[in-house]
């Protein structure tokens, strides 16, 4: 703190002084970007791996990972894991910067989702266990952290068969937890829509697989009535009219919500017909969409 009293450099060597200042500025600029760049790389790489998992439909169940397109690499034989590098970088970063609590907790959630997407369920659980929840600050990370037991259950569930009675119990818990979480996310539509869609898929799956018709109807109605709440009047109008996106003039989040709802609505109609359900909908406009399946 008393650098002011530091003896001055010899006045006869101004070149040395200027050089040292320039050097310190250059070093400062270099050092000043190092950590940020590290995190930026982690985010970019993990997103690339998550995008691969999304496009390839890797996520979910216990089936073997498909070969990676364009590489011919079979994950089962090669041992090549696109998630591994990102996950290790996250571990290394947190180890190097233990005082970066907020960054570490957010990265742990990201790591959990990454591992979940690549069927690494135990590692995902371990990543979520290492989150220091008090340092999570964004709606998305908090919601994902709070819901992580249900996310792990749903990702892990074998989708090639029907759920057992015990799994229906887990589904009930997940539906309830998701419902409560979604209510709080109106100011964060991106994650809200994702979780609402996940919830409706769980509910429709339960409705399809349920062997008791009355219970199937309950799952069906609850799932769709809750899901319809995220759709605005304009969303419903656009879906009903089947208007082109060029007329929408909306954000990417709205585009995603509207476009993704097509798959939900079509699947709902299939379930309704397959199980011969006569549901009561809370929202007539949405009911029309399901019955007509767009």
């Amino acid at each position: 703190m008393n650098r002011l009293n530091t003896p001055g450099l010899p006045a006869s060597k101004p070149g040395l002084l200027v050089g040292s200042i320039v050097l310190s500025l250059w070093v400062g600029m270099l050092l000043g970007c190092a950590t940020q760049q590290q995190v930026r790389d982690i985010v970019a790489e993990s997103n690339a791996a998550l995008l691969s998992a999304t496009i390839l439909g890797v996520a979910g169940g216990d089936a073997a990972l498909p070969p990676y397109p364009g590489t011919g690499i079979d994950p089962a034989k090669s041992g090549y894991e696109p998630w591994l590098a990102s996950s290790e970088k996250i571990d290394a970063f947190i180890e190097t910067y233990p005082d970066q609590k907020a960054a570490a907790s957010a990265l742990r959630v990201r790591q959990g989702i990454l591992l979940l997407s690549y069927k690494q369920y135990n590692l995902a659980q371990a990543a979520f266990d290492m989150v220091e929840r008090q340092y999570l600050t964004t709606a998305r990370d908090k919601a994902l952290y709070r819901l992580h037991p249900h996310l792990i259950w749903w990702f892990r569930l074998d989708k090639t068969s029907s759920m057992s009675i015990a799994q229906f119990g887990e589904a009930d818990k997940a539906l309830e937890a998701l419902k409560i979480e979604i209510i709080t996310l109106d100011e964060s539509p991106g994650v809200r829509d994702y979780l609402a869609e996940m919830r409706v898929w769980i509910a429709l799956s339960a409705a399809l697989q349920m062997t008791n018709k009355a219970k199937a109807k309950t799952y069906f109605e609850d799932g769709l009535n809750q899901y319809a709440k995220i759709l605005t009047d304009k969303d419903l109008e656009a879906l009903k009219k089947g208007s082109e996106p060029s007329e929408w003039d909306v954000s990417m989040e709205v585009v995603r919500r509207r476009v993704r709802s097509h798959a939900v609505i079509k699947y709902a109609k299939k379930v309704m017909e397959e199980q011969e359900l006569v549901p009561d909908f809370e929202y007539p406009a949405f009911s029309e969409l399901v019955r007509g399946a767009l």
């Binding site: 002011l4 002084l17 310190s24 970007c33 982690i42 907020a102 809200r192 697989q209 990417m252 798959a263």
Partner: protein
């Protein structure tokens, strides 16, 4: 040629930049991690036969194969039958049987909603290249959503800059600030401000606290630079510095944020300290430091009650201390356990235990402390070191309970109660013997008066109550023997009666205040007589005058005339009451007095403009009552010649 100072400054800038770069980098790294978008995949779901359909198909299969030999379902038929007889057959088990016995129908397709999304995007946006990674990223990425922290990253980055600049400024104050007095202050403030990493704050409240704390602490650190010649100001600042070391920054900050502190500095010192001897400032500083340190744990232990109260009122305690010093002289500072110290400590301890202390206003605390110090100055043995003081507890309780009484708080304005209690405490400070004799007197008088007059509207009640309390205290201070009687109770009852008459619009508020004053005066003149009849005698006399005024067709008794007649008759009753009552009852007295006043008013109507004018009328009527009491004539009739002559003589002599 570069001078040494310029070189140091340039190096300092370079160091600051490196440091700033590191901190901004750390902050931006956190921003990337926390707010970076995600790609969140959606697990697939299965389509295919529904649970209800599968159960029905299995039932059909059971029926179709019932008579077949060999049985294609053997040996599982009974298990399937049992399962299907359940209300909700386990879907997994149904699915397993279905796959086994109806494999052609058990086609389970997976539906991947992310795939469906991409297909729909392609259909709706044919020109968009969905093989492009950036496009896919935009299509799938999900934002972080709302950040619950109040201070966003742009602000936090700005704070990091401020922090580094503060540190830089602290190191280079000599270059930035040329004023020799100001320089150390600025340096201390900046040094304090640059201590924490400001960008780590995510909420405004702690940040603002830190900013204030830094400024205050910086100013205190640099007090040599700005402290002047006023030893009393220096004493207060030095006491605060000593408190900071014991109580911590938060405690010190709370004290300085408190409203009482401003008054202590602005009013307390400017009014009082100029007349005090500077030599005593050191002793005062020590006492102040002791009391504030002693209070620190009490404040910490009561963060919701006494803590905030003390922060707001400690200045009032010491203001009262300064006032007391002015009045009592430095004797209360002297000795090993100075009276000022012990009294203030006792006050703090008692206030910390009082549940209603937070209802006390600044003036109340000031006057309460002032009253207590006045009493102690008169009788030092009231304070005994380290022992709970019952009288002080009673004094404080009498105020806090009066202020806290629900009925009173509902019926009176906060300001009205504050003014009344503060003024009463001010009277106590003047008549400290009242506290010594009866520390709970305030509650006894004020509490009951307030309760009794609460029937009229708030503003009128406050005026009447103030008059009653003041009159009662004055009477008691003049005649402390009244403390042992039911005088206070009587005054409060009388004020209640007067308030009722105000509510009935028989009296105005001004008349009521005057009548309370003359009533308490009369009682003071003959407390034995009036106390013997409790409130009945004085109320009877008042009613008589009011009845007489009401019956008078000419309505001569109004405004101050009415009050002066009441005063006169009260005085006559105080002096001749026993004669007037004799062996009779109060009703008979009332009849007698009403007759005298009625007759007097009848004659007054005839005499006005001859020997009588309005200002003389109350004197004539009072004297008429006195004459009857003295037995100067017996027949009181307007038509009686003797009475007429006597009235005329009185009128002629009664010149105001």
């Amino acid at each position: 040629m570069i001078t040494t100072e310029a070189a140091a400054l340039t190096l300092s800038i370079a160091q600051g930049l490196i440091k700033l770069g590191g901190r901004i980098d750390r902050l931006l790294a956190e921003k990337e991690a926390v707010t970076g978008n995600y790609i969140l995949p959606m697990p697939p779901v299965r389509s295919g036969p529904g649970g209800v359909k599968m159960a029905e198909d299995l039932k059909d299969l059971l029926a179709e194969t019932r008579d077949k030999t060999p049985d294609p379902l053997a040996p599982h038929r009974w298990k399937i039958e049992e399962l299907l007889n359940q209300e909700t057959p386990d879907p997994k088990v149904i699915s397993d049987w279905y796959k086994r016995f109806l494999p052609n129908r058990a086609t389970y397709d997976l539906i991947n909603s992310d795939d469906e999304y991409l297909k729909e995007l392609k259909r709706r946006f044919p020109s968009v290249d969905l093989t492009d990674e950036n496009t896919l990223y935009a299509a799938f990425s999900i934002a972080a959503g709302r950040d619950e922290r109040e201070i966003g990253y742009p602000w936090r980055a700005a704070l990091a800059v401020v922090d580094v600049l503060a540190e830089f400024g602290a190191d280079n104050t000599a270059i930035i600030v040329h004023d020799d007095t100001l320089r150390p202050i600025v340096r201390c403030v900046l040094e304090r401000f640059s201590e924490p990493d400001l960008e780590l704050y995510s909420m405004w409240s702690p940040l603002l606290r830190q900013a204030l704390r830094s400024t205050v602490n910086g100013l205190l650190d640099a007090r040599e630079a700005w402290q002047g010649e006023n030893e009393w100001v220096n004493a207060i600042m030095d006491a605060l510095v000593s408190v900071r070391e014991k109580g911590g920054d938060d405690y010190l900050l709370g004290l300085i944020q408190g409203k009482g502190y401003q008054l202590l500095i602005s009013e307390g010192l400017s009014e009082v300290a100029t007349v005090l001897n500077d030599d005593d400032a050191g002793s005062f500083e020590k006492i102040m430091g002791d009391v504030l340190r002693e209070a620190a744990p009490l404040v910490k232990d009561h963060p919701d009650g006494f803590g905030p109260f003390f922060q707001d009122h400690w200045g009032d305690l010491f203001r009262a201390g300064l006032r007391s010093l002015e009045k009592q002289g430095p004797t209360i500072l002297k000795d090993e356990s100075p009276l000022l110290r012990e009294t203030l400590l006792a006050m703090v301890r008692e206030l910390s235990k009082s549940p209603n202390a937070e209802l006390l206003s600044r003036d109340m605390v000031f006057n309460l402390t002032n009253a207590a110090l006045s009493a102690v100055a008169v009788k030092p043995e009231l304070i005994t070191k380290d022992i709970g003081e019952p009288w002080l507890k009673l004094l404080i309780t009498s105020v806090t309970e009066t202020v806290g009484q629900q009925g009173i708080r509902r019926s009176f304005s906060k300001e009205g109660i504050e003014v009344m209690i503060s003024e009463t405490l001010g009277d106590f400070a003047v008549h400290s013997e009242l506290i010594i004799e009866k520390p709970g007197l305030l509650q006894e008088i004020t509490g009951s008066v307030l309760k009794n007059v609460s029937g009229v509207d708030r503003h009128k009640a406050e005026t009447i109550a103030t008059a009653a309390v003041k009159a009662a205290l004055q009477a008691i201070s003049e005649n402390p023997a009244l403390l042992d009687t039911r005088y206070a109770e009587m005054i409060s009852g009388f004020s209640g009666k007067v308030a009722e008459l105000v509510a009935l619009k028989t009296l105005t508020v001004d008349q009521a205040v005057d009548i309370i004053s003359v009533g308490t005066g009369a009682i003071r003149c003959n407390p034995i007589l009036f106390l013997e009849y409790e409130n009945k005698l004085i109320e009877t006399v008042l009613n008589v005058v009011l009845n007489a005024a009401e019956k008078d067709e000419m309505n001569l008794l109004y405004g101050t005339a009415l009050v002066r007649v009441v005063e006169g008759v009260f005085g006559i009753v105080a002096r001749h009451g026993r004669t007037l009552i004799g062996e009779g009852t109060l009703d008979q007295l009332a009849e007698k007095l009403l007759g005298i006043l009625g007759a007097g008013l009848t004659l007054a109507n005839e005499e006005l403009g001859r020997n009588l004018d309005m200002p003389s009328l109350p004197i004539v009527l009072s004297e008429l009552v006195a004459s009857v009491a003295r037995g100067e004539f017996v027949t009181v009739e307007p038509e009686n010649g003797t009475f007429k002559k006597y009235f005329a003589a009185l009128s002629a002599g009664a010149v105001v």
